[in-house]
């Protein structure tokens, strides 16, 4: 018997240079699908809500305003998850930063009627610095002491909250200048766009750019995808993680600023579920809990979905107990379909 060539398929000539890998890795497909879900919800609520209560620009921006703090936190969490880390201490960080900031402002406040601008700016700087430092402490625990970020940030969460309570004796800081609220926290640029929304969107744009376009983003995902490989490739993993935790802290500081300026007071007890919500927003948006893939756009959408749902269901006068059930079911359905869609493609 002689060797027999049976067929000789032509060479697939065209090489394919699209970037499915990139899109997939940046969770693009899931983010896209979740954006559809989001628009579907908006359309649904618009259609069935009485008196067009849902469908109007003012309401959309109110929703965006209510999602702005969560968006900031979800952005930082997206980077951390992309690098196979997480931060459970963000609530404590926000509380601590807001308290320090509020204390600073009230301490520096001029006599009533004076210009509070200086005090407010100092307060904001304090919030950002405190938040960033808190984040860097987390980073140190993870990189130097080699604690898992879960345990490290769980512990600093407790410590940070304890510190906040010690500083304030447990009471919210009173006496913040009202102008902080009226001309910043709830001020609407052009009467339409609330300042916190602008800040959140700006942060999202910057962080999207860095994740999708720069070395910084690639290295973050490399660390999450294969920490060993990243280290062996000579990436300064520890420094990168420090930056990421510091960045998360900075975003906590920013959130703290929005918090005190929206509500003109601190809210020590009110952030308990922030970490979970931020993680959930990131994951719903297509970021992997196990690192290597992350989506900034998805995080924004993931932060918006629960707020849209909540607002829509309130407008529909759905009893709040049934709201809980509805939110849970919608998340399951949306994510399950996304899952099936992706499985079908692979």
């Amino acid at each position: 018997m002689t060797p027999s060539t049976l067929d000789d398929g032509a060479l697939a000539a065209a090489t394919d240079e699209r970037e499915p890998g990139l899109l997939g890795r940046l969770g693009g497909a899931t983010a896209f699908w979740m954006a559809l879900v989001l628009f579907g919800l908006v359309a649904l609520f618009s259609a069935i809500s009485p008196q067009n209560a849902f469908l109007n620009v003012g309401n959309f921006f109110t929703i965006a305003l209510n999602a702005s703090q969560l968006t900031l936190l979800a952005l930082g969490m997206t980077y951390l998850l992309g690098a196979r880390q997480l931060d459970l201490s963000i609530a404590a960080n926000v509380v601590l930063a807001s308290i320090l900031s509020a204390k600073t402002i009230t301490a520096l406040m001029p006599a009533p009627g004076g210009n509070a601008l200086g005090a407010i700016l100092c307060g904001m700087v304090v919030a950002l610095v405190a938040g960033t430092l808190f984040g860097l402490v987390n980073g140190l625990l993870v990189t130097r002491l080699k604690l898992s970020s879960f345990l490290a940030t769980l512990a600093t969460s407790t410590i940070g909250l304890g510190a906040a309570l010690v500083i304030t004796s447990g009471a919210n800081v009173p006496g913040l200048p009202r102008v902080l609220q009226t001309s910043f926290g709830i001020y609407r640029i052009g009467g339409v766009v609330p300042v916190p929304v602008v800040i959140a969107l700006a942060a999202a744009a910057v962080l999207w750019f860095f994740l999708a376009k720069t070395r910084f983003g690639v290295r973050t995902l490399a660390i999450g995808s294969a920490p060993e490989a990243a280290r062996r490739a000579g990436i300064a993993v520890d420094r990168q993680l420090m930056t990421l935790f510091g960045m998360m802290g900075f975003l906590c500081g920013l959130t703290a600023i929005l918090d005190i300026s929206r509500f003109a007071t601190t809210n020590i007890g009110g952030h308990q579920t922030d970490a979970m919500q931020a993680i959930a927003a990131a994951v719903i948006g297509g970021t992997s809990l196990f690192g290597g893939s992350a989506s900034v756009v998805g995080a924004v959408i993931g932060a918006l979905i629960p707020v849209v749902l909540g607002t829509g269901l309130v407008i529909m006068r759905v009893d709040s107990f049934y709201q809980l059930i509805a939110v849970g079911l919608i998340v399951i359905v949306a994510v399950a379909i996304d899952q099936r869609r992706r499985a079908g493609q692979a």
């Binding site: 999450g224 490989a229 990243a230 062996r232």
Partner: protein, 263 residues
């Protein structure tokens, strides 16, 4: 005690690019390296062979800064050096292909080739770290083609590559960046005939570029054809330093297994 230095073909006056002296390494109770000494000279291909579990990969990881030795010392260009991390080794221009490859599965081929040394756009954008993806892709394709790997796309994640394609990515990376020494741990295990030839060609090219090359391989016929020196590791000890011209595969196997002793 192992003593593998030998007045080899290379210029004895120039200090070796890389040298290990009496390196020991233990994991828990198990002593994996029992005092290994070796020199690697520029322009020379040094092969390390040995039975499975002899300690080859462990030794290479010590040289790469991945493991810290428990005893002994390392010299780079004749100067004692402490390699605390793979980054240190890279700073000395030493690049490594690991047996388990070390790719980031979620990253694209181009990103993996340039991992940790991404190409950035010129000007301000580059200062911000903006990637030059087209150039990274184009260059990656060039390098990969030079190793015989034809990919449909350079933007697919590394996890969707075939075994051999993945190996080519790892080799491409190391050969692209090495300035002083390149160490390859069974680089051709998953490669097809053509790719293997091309990789061996690239290894010869690296030596010709005056790099010190360390090659770990079980492909003894190829090793004997390619290497300038063959060092046999047995149970954590360097037991022989052979000149390939003088020995056959059978001899090497015998030494590897400790069956017969050549003198």
């Amino acid at each position: 005690m192992a003593e593998t230095d030998s007045p080899s073909l290379a210029d004895v006056a120039a200090p070796p690019a890389l040298e290990a002296r009496a390196v020991t390494k233990r994991f828990g109770a198990v002593e994996v390296l029992k005092g290994v000494s070796m020199t690697f000279r520029r322009g020379e291909i040094t092969a390390i062979v040995g039975d499975n579990g002899a300690g080859k990969s462990t030794f290479m990881k010590v040289l790469a800064g991945e493991y810290r030795p428990d005893g002994g010392e390392l010299l780079v260009d004749g100067r004692p050096a402490t390699l605390l991390s793979t980054k240190d080794a890279q700073r000395f221009g030493i690049e490594t292909v690991y047996q388990d490859l070390a790719l980031a599965p979620d990253l694209t081929v181009a990103e993996n080739v340039y991992l940790g040394r991404e190409l950035v756009a010129p000007g301000l954008a580059g200062r911000l770290g903006v990637l030059d993806r087209p150039r990274m892709t184009a260059r990656s394709r060039e390098i990969m083609l030079g190793l015989g790997a034809r990919l449909k796309s350079y933007a697919v994640p590394a996890q969707s590559l075939s075994g051999g394609q993945r190996q080519c990515v790892a080799i491409a990376r190391a050969l692209n960046w090495a300035r002083n020494a390149v160490m390859l741990d069974e680089p051709t295990a998953a490669l097809g005939a053509r790719q293997r030839e091309m990789v061996y060609g690239a290894i010869r090219g690296a030596a010709a570029r005056d790099l010190a090359v360390l090659l770990i391989s079980h492909d003894l016929p190829q090793v004997l054809e390619l290497a300038d020196r063959v060092i046999v590791l047995r149970q954590g000890l360097a037991v022989a330093d052979l000149a390939p011209r003088d020995v056959g595969v059978r001899d090497v196997v015998d030494i590897m297994l400790g069956a017969g002793k050549a003198a």
